[in-house]
């Protein structure tokens, strides 16, 4: 009796001891006072080929508040966004990069980086934005070779190619997107573009889908020779050769994902607004909206609707487009983006296909249920990027 009690005591003592041994580490929580929220994209999407083999590979390292040695070479930085690769065409409404895949290449910042991210601000999930101390920062983008060696461990001679070295001021609790862009297609001048977003301050309804557009293409891109800019590549659509500096935007909504899908009345080539090429001014484009349930027959819970945007040069009529649907060489007069398509072999058409702007997901007792989003479509040198920002929604009930 006594023995078994002693045994018990010893057993528990051993457990308690090991608990003590493990329990010594102290968790340090990181905290940034007065943060600004920053998301960074590398929009340099050119290809290195025979003709431009002396150009730098568009693979970057971002250094915020770097420390330089006497030769002007960065040796450390407060914040480092390494392996910044060409951005993905679609930036989904949730942080989709961290923890997925073994590659170090990061299609955006923070992306794969394990840093403090933004909260839910006015109902918008900012978990794809990194927290950065607000205030004035020196920001440097460096070209780096494409390998898996962290930037500061690279050979010194590979740490010398500056893309830009500048300063930026970030205000507290503001949301920013920072773009590395080519500003001039002929001189190949690169630069950055910092946009102070305002979607979280606008009175946006959650029964409407919002979208705004930017044409951040380099000056002279659409005028350049189609072969020189590699715009005629299969799958890049008419957009590959660029669109003119002034375009009108039209939206068409389709009821469902069948090839003969009916267009929703009232949204068949509806004029939305004007798009001006602009890679310099830091203004937010106006948000255009259309109802989530434009299709009244959908029932108010789930809709199969998808969207198409046509960009037409001023003076052109959407009812009378003088190019066929597979023609890529439209002289910058017409290009289109489909957010979803019924065609499995869509690359033969001249439109660019993106994911649907509507988020359909299990929420509450409905599976799926449709939610409206806030979107940004950016056109950069023949490529199209869609970023979707999502609101909170109720968790699923099983």
């Amino acid at each position: 009796m006594l023995l078994s009690r002693m045994k018990n005591v010893i057993f528990y003592a051993a457990i308690a001891l090991s608990c003590f041994a493990i329990g010594c580490s102290k968790v340090e929580y990181k905290k940034i006072d007065d943060p600004a929220y920053l998301r960074v994209f590398n929009n340099l999407n050119y290809k290195i080929g025979i003709d431009n083999k002396d150009e730098q590979l568009p693979f970057l390292t971002m250094l915020i508040d770097p420390e330089m040695d006497q030769n002007g070479m960065p040796v450390s930085a407060q914040i480092k966004g390494d392996f910044l690769d060409k951005r993905d065409p679609y930036a989904p409404p949730y942080p989709s990069h961290i923890g997925s895949g073994t590659s170090v290449n990061n299609p955006e910042y923070p992306g794969r980086e394990n840093v403090l991210v933004g909260p839910v601000l006015n109902g918008f999930d900012l978990s794809s934005w990194a927290q950065i101390p607000s205030g004035k920062h020196r920001i440097v983008f460096m070209f780096r070779p494409k390998n898996t060696v962290p930037f500061f461990n690279l050979d010194p001679k590979l740490k010398k190619s500056f893309l830009i070295d500048t300063t930026m001021v970030l205000d507290s609790k503001e949301v920013y997107t920072l773009h590395v862009l080519q500003k001039d297609f002929l001189t190949k001048r690169n630069g950055i573009y910092l946009r102070k977003e305002n979607f979280h301050k606008l009175p946006l309804s959650d029964s409407s889908i919002y979208v705004n557009f930017y044409n951040m293409s380099a000056k002279g891109y659409w005028q350049a020779d189609n072969d020189a800019k590699g715009g005629n590549e299969y799958g890049k659509g008419a957009m590959g050769n660029g669109v003119k500096d002034q375009m009108n935007i039209f939206v068409t909504l389709y009821k469902n994902r069948t090839v003969s899908s009916p267009k929703i009345s009232g949204y068949n080539g509806k004029y939305l607004g004007n798009l001006t090429r602009n890679a310099d001014v830091l203004e937010v484009s106006p948000y255009y909206s259309f109802p989530l349930f434009a299709d009244a027959s959908a029932g108010g819970i789930f809709t199969d609707m998808w969207q198409r945007f046509d960009f037409l040069a001023p003076g052109m009529d959407i009812r009378n487009i003088p190019y066929g649907p597979t023609v890529n060489q439209t002289d910058g007069n017409w290009a289109s983006i489909n957010c979803l398509t019924p065609y499995p072999d869509y690359r033969q058409w001249n439109e660019i296909v993106m994911p649907n702007m509507i988020v359909n997901i299990h929420s509450g007792k409905y599976n799926p249920r449709s939610f409206a989003t806030v979107n940004t479509i950016e056109i950069v040198n023949g490529n199209v990027y869609l970023s979707t920002i999502q609101r909170k929604y109720a968790p699923p009930v099983y």
């Binding site: 006594l2 010893i10 051993a14 041994a21 080929g49 003709d51 083999k53 070779p145 494409k146 001679k157």
Partner: protein, 359 residues
């Protein structure tokens, strides 16, 4: 009895606890010991039958002891077959060379840093290093199916990352051809076998720019190629500049703002699937389509690469193919100078009658 086993238990527990404490300590028992089995640079080259010509070249220049010394080296050792390509078949052939030229040749195959395959950025094009001779070395690397193809100045590294006690060694299957302190202009004018090309370039006003910064890639047919097509020196001298499209007739041999090793076309065909390179003839509709790759498929060990140029009247259909010319001469391609490269061409691109002005 009871207490005995309890005591035992306590005793073991304390021993266990001590063991547990000890387990946290990680003595580094691994001791790095210098490996005596690796040879230093020059000894390795000397002891390798396939590198015997390079060894005797090093011996003649007297930098052997330096290569055996401390410090890190990268030796880009051309194999004996590589020396055979440029006409060196036995050690005594080096005696015919100017000793300074020979020293320069050896020194530009050696770097005083260790460059292994993993140090060169993945799919890097023209990653630049500095050789002992002070010249720039261009390394290009491309990976496909887990195998890396590495070129130094257009020469394939057929063996990579050979360990030396004081660095690393790569075996090249071609001697890197480079000339110090010269331009493409100087290179061409020093070689009488290209005199007809030179006279044509002079006559049509492309010559003077070849001494400027560039970079230029010159496609250079030898005199015998011109003569075979009836374009002798006298014929060139008698051409009326105003009745020919100069940009086409001789401008096609001058590629401005380009410096191509033949291997670049191979590298980009793997990285980008760009198997064809279209080079427009300046101020003309004519276009040159350049492709490159292996050409000797009879011998699987022959990894030599060469290039082909097809001249077309227009890029897009309808067009006529004007000529199709190859540049496969391993001893005459990839001649590196300070402002570009000269690539030997085994044929001529445009005949005078194909460049007559129509009005």
């Amino acid at each position: 009895m009871k207490y005995e086993s309890l005591k035992k238990c306590l005793y073991f527990l304390s021993v266990l606890w001590l063991l547990g404490l000890n387990a946290c300590k990680h003595d580094d028992l691994h001791i790095d010991k210098a490996n005596d089995n690796f040879r230093p640079g020059f000894d390795f080259v000397k002891n390798n039958y396939d590198l015997s010509l390079f060894a005797s070249a090093i011996e003649k220049t007297g930098i052997g002891p330096e290569l055996n010394g401390a410090g890190q080296f990268t030796i880009l050792a051309p194999s004996n077959a590589a020396f055979n390509i440029i006409g060196i078949n036995r050690p005594s052939d080096f005696d015919k060379m100017n000793p300074d030229t020979l020293k320069f040749l050896v020194q530009r195959h050696i770097l005083n840093e260790r460059i292994m395959l993993k140090d060169i950025p993945f799919n890097g094009i023209d990653v630049r290093y500095r050789t002992l001779a002070g010249t720039e070395l261009y390394a290009s690397i491309v990976s496909r199916d887990n195998s890396n193809t590495l070129y130094f100045n257009g020469s394939l590294a057929s063996r990579k990352d050979v360990t030396l006690a004081n660095g690393t060694l790569h075996v090249l299957d071609r001697v890197m051809k480079s000339t110090a302190n010269t331009t493409v202009q100087g290179w061409l004018s020093a070689r009488p076998e290209y005199s007809i090309l030179v006279s044509g370039l002079k006559k049509f006003g492309f010559w003077d720019e070849l001494a400027t910064e560039g970079p230029y890639t010159i496609l250079a047919p030898k005199n015998k190629e011109f003569e075979a097509n009836g374009m002798t020196a006298e014929v060139i001298a008698g051409l009326n500049v105003n009745s020919y499209i100069g940009d086409r007739l001789f401008g096609c041999y001058v590629m401005r703002k380009k410096h191509f090793f033949v291997s670049d076309f191979v590298v980009f065909s793997i990285i980008n699937n760009d198997s064809f390179y279209y080079h427009p003839v300046a101020n003309d509709t004519y276009i040159m389509t350049i492709t490159a790759g292996r050409f000797n498929y009879d011998n699987i060990y022959d990894q030599s690469i060469g290039y082909n140029i097809e001249v077309r009247t227009n890029k897009n259909f309808p067009y006529d193919i004007v000529t199709n010319v190859k540049g496969h001469d391993q001893k005459a391609i990839d001649n590196l100078t300070d402002n570009g490269l000269v690539q030997d061409l085994q044929g001529i691109l445009i005949l005078p009658e194909q460049a007559i002005k129509s009005n």
